[in-house]
């Protein structure tokens, strides 16, 4: 699946959030959206997922306008991986992953044996099949995030949109999720990643889109775009690097 946006304006009718965004995502590539809180990343992501109507410009999924895909067609091609938030309802991991099969079933149909198999395989791919029957409240945040990625795989979509998949995870779990993203990319998936962490963009992305106040601030290869100067201007705080793959370190606390 490829995804392309041209001159995209996004937001709500009464409250425009951003405009003039161009982006393109091809199979086997990872595109990372990077920007400060309130920059419009999430709204842009929801628009690209077809959850919000574009306010201008166009989005094409495999060359066809996103709005022309029926919701069910879209759901089996374009999958959304939300942040691993707590829900009250304590589904087991396999039940959560089986929900990924919804768009493949009729309105009244129960999950078939094939649905169960695909769900198991997705859990397997992410190395969490041992936890299949565990309630989702009883696994770590990282495992919960992996389960949500497994659910996206169970939709059989080949384009994944991940919303800050490493937020609220400890270092080990962050690395686990990033490693999975790399493996999915190698398997030929197209991946759109929203992130807070420039280090992660350097780690996994082929292309980075820096967003500020709903506009494209910079776009290009991670090493070219994630620079001291760009990050300092984007986040309004002076930033300096230690080496190409290290994380940016603020030199001094912000002056207040």
């Amino acid at each position: 699946m490829s995804l392309e946006a041209r001159d995209l304006a996004f937001g709500y009718r009464s409250h425009p959030v951003g405009s003039g965004v161009d982006l393109a995502l091809a199979p086997g590539r990872v595109l990372c959206l990077l920007g400060p809180n309130g920059s419009g990343k999430t709204t842009l992501m929801k628009t690209l997922l077809g959850l919000l109507r574009p306010q201008g410009g166009e989005i094409r999924l495999d060359g066809r306008a996103l709005g022309e895909w029926s919701p069910r067609e879209r759901a089996s091609r374009l999958a959304y991986v939300p942040q691993a938030a707590e829900t009250f309802f304590d589904f087991s991991l396999v039940e959560m992953v089986e929900m990924g099969r919804t768009s493949h079933r009729g309105l009244f149909a129960r999950p078939s044996r094939r649905d169960a198999e695909i769900a198991r395989r997705a859990l397997d791919t992410l190395g969490i099949s041992a936890l299949a029957d565990r309630p989702i409240h009883r696994v770590s945040g990282g495992e919960r995030q992996l389960a949500l990625i497994a659910r996206a795989l169970a939709t059989e979509a080949t384009l994944l949109v991940l919303d800050e998949p490493t937020a609220n995870l400890d270092f080990g779990n962050q690395m686990r999720v990033l490693a999975e993203i790399k493996r999915l990319r190698q398997a030929g998936m197209s991946i759109l990643l929203c992130s807070h962490d420039p280090g992660h963009a350097l780690e996994v992305a082929d292309e980075v889109l820096l967003i500020q106040k709903g506009k494209t601030f910079a776009r290009g290869a991670p090493a070219e775009v994630i620079t001291d100067a760009n990050l300092s201007r984007l986040y309004g705080i002076e930033v300096r690097y230690h080496g190409p793959h290290a994380r940016p370190v603020p030199p001094a606390p912000p002056q207040s």
């Binding site: 997922l49 919701p71 069910r72 939300p82 304590d90 929900m99 999950p111 029957d133």
Partner: protein, 340 residues
């Protein structure tokens, strides 16, 4: 604690068996006791049209007095539990009851107005039903008109507001009602009762309950996904807006039918799905199926106790609260201790 599918089958089978026993008990006990064997013979004769060989009064007690009441209690319990389970998923909140969008207040106001105008009993039922639908329709329309980023929150707030408006309406109706005839009638109606349920009441309420519960049950795999955030459900291919309207419509239909049949009975729609979830996990298809059975059995057991435990009948709406409160506190303690 994992609810494997076969564990669910055991729970469901057990629940069905218990409900069957409760039904036999309910047919047997009362001011005119009938042995379980005679209950069976009378029912069999009524179904097949044969001759039971029983005394006419025994047969009448079973088929004409107790049968409508048993069926009504089963239907009302199933309806309230199914509506509660569906609403808890829809609103992603396990503390939601079928009344959340004001259906019970609407029914009560409708019935109150009908009693105020001294309309016949059948019309009171119809007014109650229409009042419930009207209240929820108002909530949905106002909720849609207000809009907002979180439609669920808007709906709940609108439900609270419209519910209290109808509550004020009920208070006004009570205030202007004739204190010797109408006021007691309104109060008794609000308390709820299965006394004197007639086959013709069932002919109106039962099909509505059956249709609503059946639609919810058929859609159970889709409604399951509504427990996720709206964005997630939508991205999984569920038409959230349309499904939400269907669920609200069906839950309102069955609740209004139940309330117009037996008055406002609380707690069943809140506790039963919660209890079901405790034993079979969060999966909505399992919760709904078990809730329907447990709700039917619980309501019948409570009503049977209400008419036999004391010298005078206790209104089931009161009994459910007396039984429901301790049960609910126990469930809360169980849930929170487990997750602590």
């Amino acid at each position: 604690m994992i609810a494997a599918p076969n564990r669910f089958a055991w729970w469901l089978g057990g629940a069905v068996a218990v409900v069957a026993l409760v039904a036999i008990w309910s047919f047997s006990v009362g001011r005119f006791p009938v042995g379980p064997g005679d209950v069976w013979r009378a029912l069999w004769a009524a179904i097949t049209g044969g001759d039971s060989g029983l005394a006419a009064n025994t047969e009448a007690v079973v088929t004409r007095i107790r049968a409508p009441r048993v069926v009504a209690a089963l239907a009302v319990g199933a309806a309230l539990a199914a509506a509660g389970a569906a609403y808890q998923n829809l609103f992603k909140n396990p503390l939601v009851s079928p009344d959340i969008l004001g259906v019970a207040a609407g029914c009560a106001l409708g019935a109150g107005i009908a009693i105020l105008f001294s309309l016949p009993i059948g019309v009171i039922h119809a007014f109650a039903f229409a009042g419930g639908l009207l209240a929820v329709a108002l909530v949905v329309l106002i909720g849609n008109w207000v809009g907002g980023r979180d439609p669920i929150l808007t709906l709940i707030l609108t439900g609270v507001v419209v519910g209290s408006l109808f509550g004020a309406g009920i208070a006004l109706v009570k205030y202007v009602a004739d204190p010797y005839n109408q006021l007691p009638a309104i109060v008794f109606w609000l308390l709820g009762s299965f006394t004197g349920v007639l086959p013709k009441d069932l002919a109106f309420g039962l099909p509505l309950v059956a249709i609503g519960v059946l639609v919810l049950w058929l859609l159970r795999w889709r409604i399951d996904v509504l427990a996720l955030s709206e964005d997630e459900a939508q991205s999984l291919g569920v038409d959230v807006k349309r499904l939400r309207i269907v669920v609200i419509l069906m839950a309102t239909l069955v609740t209004a039918a139940a309330v117009s049949l037996a008055g406002t009975i609380g707690w069943v729609g809140l506790i039963i799905p919660h209890a079901a979830r405790l034993v079979v996990g969060a999966s909505f298809p399992r919760v709904l199926t078990l809730s329907i059975v447990l709700g039917a059995g619980f309501m019948l057991a409570v009503d049977t106790l209400c008419r036999t435990a004391f010298a005078t009948e206790v209104p089931p709406g009161v009994a459910t609260a007396f039984i429901g409160t301790p049960v609910f506190i126990a469930l809360l303690a169980l849930t929170f201790r487990r997750s602590a």
